[in-house]
């Protein structure tokens, strides 16, 4: 799904990122550009569903992209409700699709 990446941007020019890290999304290892937002890696890999709502189990994804709406929250390194559109990746990060509020079922 690398085709979603804008390698040659009409205004910003060529992407010259040379440093990459690895993150694990729902058990799958993915390569990410160092410092990019989690949501960007997911989009580049065709992942659009970030979480399911608590009451009706409805899918949610990116909506505002700037950390205002909290629609894109996921469970990151075991911590629930992390806004993936404004949280940069770190090497070895674990990202999970979040169920409801992210609380573990008893």
């Amino acid at each position: 799904m690398d085709e979603m990446r804008v390698k040659n941007h009409p205004i910003l020019g060529e992407d010259n990122c040379e440093e990459f890290v690895e993150i694990t999304v729902d058990g799958k290892v993915m390569q990410a550009k160092k410092g990019e937002m989690i949501a960007a890696v997911l989009l580049a890999n065709g992942i659009k569903i970030h979480r399911y709502t608590a009451k009706e189990h409805k899918p949610r994804g990116i909506f505002c992209g700037i950390g205002q709406c909290t629609d894109c929250v996921m469970t990151v390194n075991g911590k629930a409700n992390v806004r993936t559109c404004i949280t940069p990746v770190e090497d070895g990060m674990t990202v999970e699709t979040q169920e409801g509020y992210g609380r573990k079922k008893p």
Binding site: G61, I62, Q68, P88
Partner: protein, 361 residues
């Protein structure tokens, strides 16, 4: 902790204000909740309008870089990843920073927290793949990743057409622009680029529904007249992304919390803090600027920030009245020139109504 001036939000208005106030001799603290300053400057890759004094012809992100550089050179104190969670009596600003709430006592507060995109509610509007046009813009211009391959834009205002064109340039297929009004909302120069590229404009149409199993797979659009969808005019379009560009609204929670008088001005985004010609609100010493003070453009936001900063500098005794008045008049003239033309005039009239409403409770 005490600071003369606390500026909340380091976007176009906040940065310009911080620079102006610091140059005038104020002790400034600039606070922003994001990891980097600049607000929404860095997704604005288009060339700005206006005169030379407004950096016209320069791309938004270049203006942002310049402001950041100036802020740094002047040694402005900037707190990033710091959320203002409240403004309390005595102009005490509560800032959540590194997990701790610090209270900063200010003599003047400038609120420039910007705006938020309006959502549009239609069946399927919560599906992954429906997003704000600004979100799509952030994805393609900041994160350098396409939000989708086949994109439908709802709204033909400047945001809608500029973002649609940038998505197209970056390699996405923009399958159409849907506009509920009987005409295109954006500047002709922007809309023409899309028309030349063969992107269809569905004028007098609206989105009726987004369909899909667990994400957007299809959009249904229909003719729209007198606020109603005309039955029988529905048509389906294969899409994976629906971008919504139906305006923004001022983010004024902090001003509300501080007891600032508000009014409803539709042309400027709706419910907003009322301010005077100095950008001061009904609460003495609390100022607003930029989209918080009515949604306009980054260029007007910068000048409103400067205007507020000059007013603050004078109120705190760093500028004498005559010098301040002269500076204010220069900025007001620039703002007036930005509020010309059919779009600008509408905003100018709305701003005049804001002033007329007055800041006495």
């Amino acid at each position: 902790m005490k600071r003369e001036v606390v500026i909340i939000g380091a976007g176009p208005a906040g940065l310009a204000a911080a620079i102006e106030a610091t140059k005038n001799g104020c002790q400034v603290l600039l606070v922003d909740e994001n990891r980097t300053a600049g607000g929404q400057f860095f997704k604005q890759l288009h060339k700005f309008f206006g005169s030379q004094a407004h950096s016209a012809g320069i791309r938004g992100f270049e203006i942002g870089k310049q402001l950041l550089k100036e802020t740094e050179e002047l040694g402005v104190e900037v707190w990033l990843e710091s959320s203002v969670i409240g403004i309390f009596a005595g102009k005490r600003v509560a800032v959540l920073r590194n997990g701790i709430t610090e209270t900063v006592e200010a003599q003047s507060i400038l609120i420039c927290t910007g705006g938020a995109e309006n959502p549009l509610r239609f069946p399927g509007w919560t599906y992954p793949g429906v997003m704000g046009a600004g979100a799509a813009q952030t994805m393609v211009n900041v994160n350098r990743v396409l939000p989708g391959k086949r994109i439908l834009m709802i709204g033909s205002g400047n945001v809608g057409v500029i973002v649609a064109y940038q998505l197209l340039q970056a390699g996405a297929d923009v399958v159409g622009i849907v506009e509920g009004m009987p005409r295109i909302g954006a500047y002709g120069v922007h809309a023409a680029k899309l028309k030349r590229a063969g992107v269809p404009f569905f004028i007098g149409h609206t989105i009726a529904e987004a369909r899909g199993s667990d994400r957007v797979e299809e959009a249904v659009i229909a003719r729209f007249e007198n606020g109603q969808i005309l039955k029988g005019t529905e048509r389906k379009i294969d899409v994976d992304t629906i971008c919504v560009a139906v305006g923004l609204r001022p983010l004024s929670e902090l001003a509300q919390m501080a007891g600032v008088k508000h009014g409803f001005i539709p042309e400027l985004g709706g419910f907003m803090p009322i301010h005077n010609t100095d950008m001061e609100t009904s609460v003495e010493g609390i100022y607003v600027a930029g989209d918080t003070a009515g949604v306009e453009e980054a260029s007007t936001a910068m000048d409103e920030g400067r205007l507020a900063a000059v007013s603050v500098s004078c109120a705190l005794g760093h500028l004498n009245r005559a010098d301040a008045e002269q500076k204010k008049e220069e900025i007001r003239d620039r703002l007036a020139s930005l509020r010309q033309g059919p779009f600008g005039e509408r905003r100018m009239n709305a701003k005049n109504r804001v002033i007329e409403m007055g800041v006495t409770m």
